[in-house]
Every structure is written in structure tokens, then in C-alpha cells.
């Protein structure tokens, strides 16, 4: 089977504009979630994880004509640029593809206050993708995965399939979403938002904090020669609950299918997994469903966490951003504390990481679940390069 190597990555979130800044804050247990009372964003105070506008406009000065791009496009361009600078791949080659993951793209352009700032077609994900393709002068039409909160994880799985087929040598997977009044009002009317920093798996969890950002992972079928430790994408899968469009399965059977298929695809057993980077949104139903799926998959004793307490729920970006953190967890041999968790609030005993600590790590599972009953799972592994 074709090996798929992770050759570069980037995270832009409330915690910083590159992976290192993000990982340092996470290691220090710092959260980017805070209370924002800005009527430009929302009529009432909201607890969200937001990229600072001033920081973004400073960072965007490195882009060619940044004013031509929307807020989300600038974030995508900065994230991909930073990842590209770490690698020597040829972005203008036919053998390089860009895959974007996003739930709502430039949805802020639909908002009354932003209309007429950009051509109306830029609200279409395909048109947003075209801007990014043209900026980097890549010859291939980007693929855009728009699959609710599993978009990022699923985009990695799509990349895996195309790389194994030999259609491309390198694939840049970038997931991004912004916090907008559109999504805030939607999640608020679902009564899914927490009015304090979120608490995944905790007894007192009440809901999510929306977050924004972009994560980028560059995948290649060529083994990197400049890295002492290499990380591979071993396998992945998706599934559907076939149960409810806006609530997770009560049994966890849908997520179980994605986890089992991903393990089979990666030729990996439950005993081999050292660490689980879960979705953990901190809604009562989601976290309970995950706990049940982990028991069914015989993974309840494996150390696990959710990164939502640090960067909120970044929607379509979550799967990519959190995969980058998980990859660095493997690289750094460190298990990061599941921020916000104090007392078990799911019906199953789980091994939730309560203290950031060193551990020898070889393989990890990353999962996501979302509206529409979708679930996704991918598996990363580490080996020494020799």
C-alpha cells in the first residue's frame, strides 16, 4: 500500500498564526475562548474563540494584494503559505492538488452588513476555492469537501484515497471556517452554545463554544528526507448514523462503524492505539454518544482528549486543526490535558487526560461527528526515519 507522509502543517486560531504558537499555548493550558460583547458580531455577549482582526491584518501584509480577499480567504492563504514554506513541493505542478474543507465558507458575505463588499458569487465555495487556486497558480481545480463538522477529517480521507490511486504526488488539505452571526444565531437557536468556556465530557457541560481558524496539512507520497521523525496517515473512513439529521445516534453505533473501518483500513488493532483525539464538542448528546462508541470499539482505556476547550469548535476546520495538534502530540511524545474537564459526565468510564504529561506515543486516532448523522475517523502513526 502507498505510504502517505505528513510533510508540513500550520494552524491559525485564536492561539496564534503557526503550529508552534498554538502548541505552546496548549502545552501551557491557555485557552483562546473568551467572552466577546461586540454587536458587530452578535447582539448579546458570546463565548467564542476568535482570530484577532488586528493580528490578521498585520499578518496579511505578507500576502500579495490582501484587500482582494475575504477574511476567510486571507486565513486560508496565510495558512497554506506557511505550510508551503516548510516543504519543497511544487505548488504549480499538475501533481499537486489543493483540497479545502469548510462548512460555510464566505457565509459572512451573505450578511446584510457585508453585502456589496465582494462579488456575490464569492459566497459559493467553488468561487472561494478558485481565488485560492489562482493565488498559488495551481493548475488543478481544488476539491471542496462540505460535510458539516467532519469536513476536515473527511478531506484528509479523500486525500488519502486520491494519493493511493496515484492521481497526485502531493495534496494540500486546508480546513477553514469563521465565526459569523449566521452560525452563532443558528447554534444559539439550537440552544447548543455554552455561556462559559466549554467542558467536554464533564458533568456540568452545557454546550459548545464556536471557534474560527484554518488548519493545513500537506500530504505526500514521497518520504521526507529532512525529518528525523516521520508521521504517516495510515487510514481513514466515514459513516452515517441513519438516525437523525440534527442529533447524534443514542448508541454510538455510527461512529463505531467509522472507527472500525478506519482501523481496518490502517491495518491497526485497538491495542496499538496510544492516544485518541476526539471530537468532544461538550454538548450533552455528542459526548455521551462518543463515550458509548469508544466502549463498543474497546478503546475506553486509551488516553483521550478534546481540544475544544482551547480553540472552540472550529467547524469545518476542526478536523484539520485538531489533526495537526494530534500529530504534534505524537511528535512531542506528549498527552495534552483535555481542558475544561473536571468530573466525568458521560455514562462510561473513559481515560480522559487531566494533566499534560509525557508518554511514548506511536499511533493515534482522530474522530469527528456532525449534523446529518455523519462520522469520520483517521489514524496517524509515527516512525523513525532511517
Amino acid at each position: 500500500m502507498t505510504k502517505i507522509y505528513i510533510i508540513a502543517d500550520n494552524i491559525i486560531s485564536s492561539l496564534g498564526f503557526d503550529t508552534q504558537q498554538n502548541i505552546e499555548k496548549i502545552a501551557a493550558m491557555k485557552t483562546g475562548v473568551s467572552c466577546h460583547f461586540d454587536t458587530q458580531i452578535y447582539p448579546t455577549p458570546v463565548w467564542i474563540s476568535k482570530v484577532d482582526n488586528q493580528d490578521l491584518s498585520t499578518a496579511s501584509k505578507q500576502l500579495c494584494q490582501p484587500q482582494k480577499y475575504t477574511r476567510l480567504e486571507q486565513l486560508f492563504l496565510l495558512s497554506i503559505t506557511d505550510a508551503l514554506q516548510q516543504s519543497s513541493i511544487d505548488i504549480v505542478s499538475k501533481e499537486t492538488l489543493i483540497i479545502l474543507a469548510s462548512t460555510k465558507g464566505n457565509i459572512d458575505l451573505l450578511e446584510f452588513k457585508n453585502q456589496d463588499k465582494f462579488p456575490s458569487e464569492r459566497v459559493n465555495l467553488g468561487s472561494m476555492a478558485k481565488e485560492i487556486q489562482d493565488y498559488f497558480q495551481n493548475p488543478n481545480t481544488p476539491l471542496v469537501v462540505c460535510n458539516a463538522c467532519i469536513s476536515g477529517v473527511l478531506a484528509l480521507d479523500v486525500a488519502k484515497r486520491l494519493l493511493r490511486k496515484g492521481k497526485y504526488k502531493n495534496i494540500i488539505v486546508a480546513g477553514g471556517d469563521i465565526v459569523s452571526e449566521f452560525t452563532l444565531s443558528g447554534f444559539q437557536c439550537f440552544k447548543a452554545m455554552s455561556d462559559a468556556p466549554c467542558k467536554p465530557y464533564d458533568k456540568n457541560r452545557v454546550g459548545i463554544n464556536l471557534g474560527e481558524g484554518v488548519g493545513t496539512i500537506i500530504l505526500s507520497t514521497e518520504k521526507p528526507s529532512n525529518q528525523a521523525t516521520i508521521i504517516t496517515l495510515e487510514g481513514g473512513a466515514s459513516s452515517n448514523d441513519a438516525n437523525h439529521i440534527s442529533g447524534p445516534s443514542r448508541t454510538g453505533d455510527g461512529l463505531l462503524i467509522a472507527i472500525e473501518k478506519a482501523m481496518k483500513d490502517a491495518n491497526c488493532t485497538s491495542e496499538e492505539l496510544d492516544y485518541l483525539s476526539m471530537h468532544g464538542t461538550a454538548t450533552p448528546f455528542n459526548d455521551e454518544m462518543e463515550a458509548k462508541a469508544l466502549v463498543l470499539a474497546d478503546l475506553q482505556t486509551v488516553p483521550m482528549n478534546s481540544y475544544k476547550g482551547y480553540i472552540g469548535h472550529t467547524l469545518g476546520a476542526a478536523g484539520v486543526i485538531e489533526s495537526v495538534i494530534a500529530i504534534h502530540s505524537l511528535r512531542n511524545n506528549t498527552l495534552y490535558c483535555s481542558l475544561g474537564f473536571e468530573e466525568l459526565g458521560v455514562p462510561e468510564q473513559l481515560n480522559i487526560i487531566t494533566k499534560t504529561s509525557p508518554a511514548i506515543l506511536q499511533k493515534c486516532l482522530k474522530t469527528a461527528s456532525g449534523f446529518g448523522g455523519c462520522n469520520g475517523a483517521v489514524i496517524f502513526a509515527k516512525q523513525e526515519n532511517n
Binding site: 441513519a242 456532525g370 455523519c374
Partner: protein
Amino acid sequence: MQTFATTYPYCEIKDEKIILNGNIIFQEEDAAFAKFIKSAYSHLNLDYPKFHKMDRLCKLAFIAAYTLLGENGLKGYAPDEIGVVMANTHSTLHTDTKHEESIQDRNNYYPSPAVFVYTLPNIMVGEICIKYNIKGESVFFVSNHFDKNLLLEYSQDMLQDGSAKVCLTGWVDYTENGYYAVLFLVK
């Protein structure tokens, strides 16, 4: 008239016509979409209360899937052997606009969960999965142009590597200015 040079069974919905494997099986000329899709529901003798809660995009996808699959079109496959690969251009723009209108006026703010849930295009996939108990792999792509070959190749690849034994594959797009649906059963 065979629009598609494919050996797969397919259903197409356009211009107030439902076309199954190249043959028009239902049409209602000059009907607005809402009336047309309701008549199609009756014509198919459907009794599925969830249909009436769906947005227009999901109704379009659901009628295309039902025309192609009927009640038993996927019998014989295990739930996790059935894949879904779908795409469109406008994602959920029609319902997005509806949600946006509900939050335009801070003094008359009325966002609704029943609308907001339909602001993700993979909800179409979810609705079809619920109806047919599909638990296999699925993906939703958004692109400016309908690339039929890309979707079919992706589905064929899923069959080849054993990720699925059958795949519901196609394109369903709806805006105020027009609509088009085509679904193939790739096996």
C-alpha cells in the same frame, strides 16, 4: 433520449420532469417548484411525513433517490456497504438566505432551528441515509461545475477498494433561478 452514456441506472429531475433511465415518468409543465415536487411526491404514492419538513434541496434529492431506488432498491446490501457521493454548486444557498433574512433585523430576530439545520448540504445525504438505513461511507463536494466523471470515478474507486459495494452518486442543486438533480446507482 439517453442523456448520459453510462450503464448505471439513473434518475434525472429538471424542467418539471422526472426522467428514469432516459424515460420521462412524470411531468407537470409550467408548475412552480413547490407545486411540482409535491405532485411528484403524490405521483410516487409516498407516505413519508418527514418529507414535508425538508427544505427544497432535500425534497429534490429525496424524490430523485426514491424514483431511482423505490422502497426496496438497496435490499440485499448491508447498511455499511452502501456509499453516497454527492455534490452541487450552490451548497444550501436558498435556505442560507432564508436563515439570513431571519437575523437581518435585530428588533425582529427569529432564527429557527428547523431552518438552520438545512444550511448544510450533507443534510440531503443524511435524509437519504435515514430513509434507506445507509450507514456506509459518504462525502459531499461543492464545485462551480458538475464534473460527472470525477464523482463516478470516486465512487468506482470506493467499490474497487471494498469501501462500498454499491454507491448512490450524483448532483443535486437548487436556487431560486433553477434546479437540477441527477443520481446514479453505481454498482
